[in-house]
């Protein structure tokens, strides 16, 4: 159905509601964006300028926030002294690796659950989802104990495995819905056309691509922003950005400048990713339907 313009006449009440809605949104926008703005601006200030604040109630002094000489010293120290290049690589490998592992196994499992009938299928599917129901904290201790026995603590493969434990059920759950929406006749037609079972599966992967794309993003976001796994399982050898940032808070010395710069370094890639794939993310999450 095409949308169309509906003729609409406001009553005074509706006008008032609309104005207050706009006001609310404006306040909400400031509330959400201000921390990012402060973080971004502060990362370019040296320490003295960063704490140069107007007096309470002095609204005309707001301009003081923007009176500074930009400096890149925090960024350069992050990467030269702080070894943040390494941590960023760790974050990327852990997030990307877990996304790839989850998407490969997740799509195979989701496909099977979508196409093959077998006894206990419903129970199996529920079990898969239920592994995602426990809070991360609850499984942390047993997971740590298992990982220590297997010498996986403090390694990147360990961290990837830990993220996969949580991402894989999620992948199966999301992707099954996408496969369910692809008519089976397409694969049957492929097989009669001369393809093997696996080629038939492969032929419909492009049709679930939006789902896979959306999932990969959510998966990377989960791993990239994660602190708990990274702090406990990744600690030491596989330090990621959030953990490294946390370590800049030292008992005698909170390095505000570096923390702000680290915050920008951590946030920026995900924001860029979000912008680039925004279009696919929306279609992926809202429109699983594949029309015949």
């Amino acid at each position: 159905m095409a949308s169309q313009d509906v003729v609409h006449y406001d009553t005074p009440l509706q006008k008032a509601l609309r104005v207050s809605a706009a006001l609310f949104l404006a306040v909400y926008l400031i509330w959400t964006l201000l921390p990012f703005v402060i973080m971004f601006v502060s990362s370019f200030k040296d320490l003295l300028e960063a704490f140069n604040l107007p007096d309470v109630g002095d609204w005309s002094g707001v301009g003081i926030f923007f009176e500074f000489t930009p400096t890149f010293e925090h960024y350069s120290s992050l990467f030269s002294e702080g070894n943040f290049g390494r941590y960023m690589a760790n974050s990327l490998i852990a997030a990307g690796g877990s996304a790839i592992v989850s998407v490969v196994f997740g799509s195979l499992a989701a496909y099977s659950l979508s196409r093959v009938e077998f006894r206990g299928k419903k129970d199996l599917f529920f079990w898969i989802i239920s592994t995602r129901m426990a809070p991360v904290v609850a499984v942390m201790v047993p997971l740590y104990s298992i990982f220590r026995t297997l010498d996986l603590v403090g390694t990147l493969p360990g961290l990837i495995l830990a993220y996969t434990t949580f991402n894989l059920p999620f992948a199966i759950w999301i992707l099954k819905g996408f496969f369910d929406n692809v008519p089976y006749a397409i694969e049957e037609s492929q097989m009669v056309d001369g393809s093997t079972r696996f080629q038939a599966f492969w032929s419909i992967v492009p049709l679930v691509a939006p789902g896979i794309g959306a999932f990969v993003v959510l998966c990377i976001l989960f791993a990239w922003n994660d602190f708990l796994f990274a702090a406990i399982i990744g600690s030491g050898g596989a330090k990621t950005l959030p953990v490294a940032t946390r370590e800049l808070v030292q008992p005698q010395n909170i390095q505000w400048g570096s923390i702000m710069a680290a915050g920008v370094v951590t946030t920026a890639p995900m924001m860029l990713l979000g912008l680039v794939i925004r279009k696919y993310l929306v279609t992926g999450l809202t429109m699983g339907a594949v029309k015949e």
Binding site: A185, I186, M191, V192, E292
Partner: protein, 364 residues
């Protein structure tokens, strides 16, 4: 091209048999239609032929080769699905080229074959489009195109035109029949529409409840149905059935009903006397084997009252009310009887049928 033989084929879904002891031989190069209502096992049969379902018991032979255990890709059949099953992300050209690409043919052969098929089906101007930019009829042509570029041994068409509108369906019937004749490839065409089967096929296999009811040419199926079920399923408007008594014996037997008493022809009496079990029987007569008149025609006829007239363009269908039933008669639009008038129906006794009142098999 191949002769397709099904020998004692069964299909079970769990405990439920969907196809029961099916025996069919489709001659090489023939157009065979499997006709039946939904749930009669026709689609299961087709899917077993394609290799999309396992064959529970029995054998399927292409020529002399048993193909039960071959994967779909090794059977060399091409199938057209009810919902077309085109690849939504590929162009028309790539859809049609797909089976050839899977066979690793070189690009120039693929191009030639796809273009030839496109010309044949009059879709050569749509080659760069995607399926969602096509109308139902065009999609269906692409699906057929994808089947014919292969030059397979056997075509399987699973209700390919069921989703088209009536006018396009009538057009496509002719096209598909012409296509099959010009390619000369054996075709098995599943449909629930008796008109499609009658108008297109060389042979029809009528199925009901998983069992083959009758195998024959369209004219055999229409004119000599083996039982009341086939007689009632084939033909539109449907055959009229009336429960009658069989009275008399020797060479004088007539069908007796509250509204009429009509003697059988002597040839029919001979057939009946050998087989008859009960006193009752079901008379079956098609609307076009009856004629209606407002005056007594002076020969044995059925007396009734006009219930309603339906003008169908070139024909008029008159529903006539009897004591315990209504029957339909086909006549010309000039017929001027009014609802409520008494009328007389004469039966063309060469074209009527008598079925057993128990199992419904046809005496003649």
């Amino acid at each position: 091209m191949a002769t397709v033989t099904l020998k004692n084929v069964w299909k079970y879904y769990g405990e439920t048999p969907a196809v029961k002891d099916l025996n069919i031989t489709c001659p090489d190069g023939s157009f065979v239609s499997i006709l039946g209502p939904s749930g009669c096992g026709k689609s299961s049969t087709m899917r077993m032929l394609a290799g999309l379902e396992h064959i529970s018991a029995g054998d399927v032979l292409f020529d002399e080769e048993r193909i039960n255990d071959l994967a779909p890709k090794d059977r060399d059949v091409a199938m057209v699905f009810e919902n077309y099953a085109l690849y939504p992300h590929k162009s028309v050209f790539e859809n049609m080229a797909n089976p050839l690409r899977l066979r690793k043919m070189d690009d120039s052969t693929i191009k030639d074959r796809v273009e030839a098929a496109g010309k044949l089906l009059e879709i050569d101007h749509l080659m760069e489009r995607r399926p969602h930019e096509l109308s139902g009829g065009q999609k269906q042509r692409v699906a057929i195109g994808r089947a014919i570029v292969r030059e397979p041994k056997l075509f399987l068409f699973d209700e390919p035109i069921a989703h088209l509108d009536a006018k396009l369906r009538a057009h496509m019937r002719g096209e598909i029949k012409h296509l099959q004749k010009s390619l000369g490839t054996t075709m098995i065409y599943v449909t629930h529409d008796q008109l499609e089967a009658l108008s297109m096929a060389d042979y029809i296999a009528v199925m009901h409840d998983g069992e083959l009811q009758q195998w024959g040419t369209p004219s055999e199926i229409y004119n000599h149905p083996v039982n009341a079920w086939v007689a009632g399923f084939v033909g539109e408007p449907a055959m009229n059935f009336l429960t009658c008594d069989l009275q008399g014996n020797g060479d004088k037997v007539h069908l007796s009903h509250k509204n009429f008493e009509i003697p059988l022809l002597s040839e029919q009496i001979k057939r009946l006397n050998g087989a008859r079990k009960a006193k009752q029987a079901r008379m079956g007569v098609r609307p076009d084997a009856l004629s209606i008149s407002m005056t007594d025609p002076g020969e044995p006829s059925i007396k009734g009252k006009i219930f309603v007239n339906e003008l169908l363009g070139g024909d008029m269908l008159v529903e006539v009310e009897l004591e315990d039933a209504r029957i339909r008669v086909k006549t010309t639009p000039e017929f001027n009887g009014k609802p409520g008038d008494s009328c007389h129906l004469t039966v063309n006794r060469d074209k009527w049928h008598v079925f057993d009142s128990g199992d419904g098999h046809a005496y003649f």
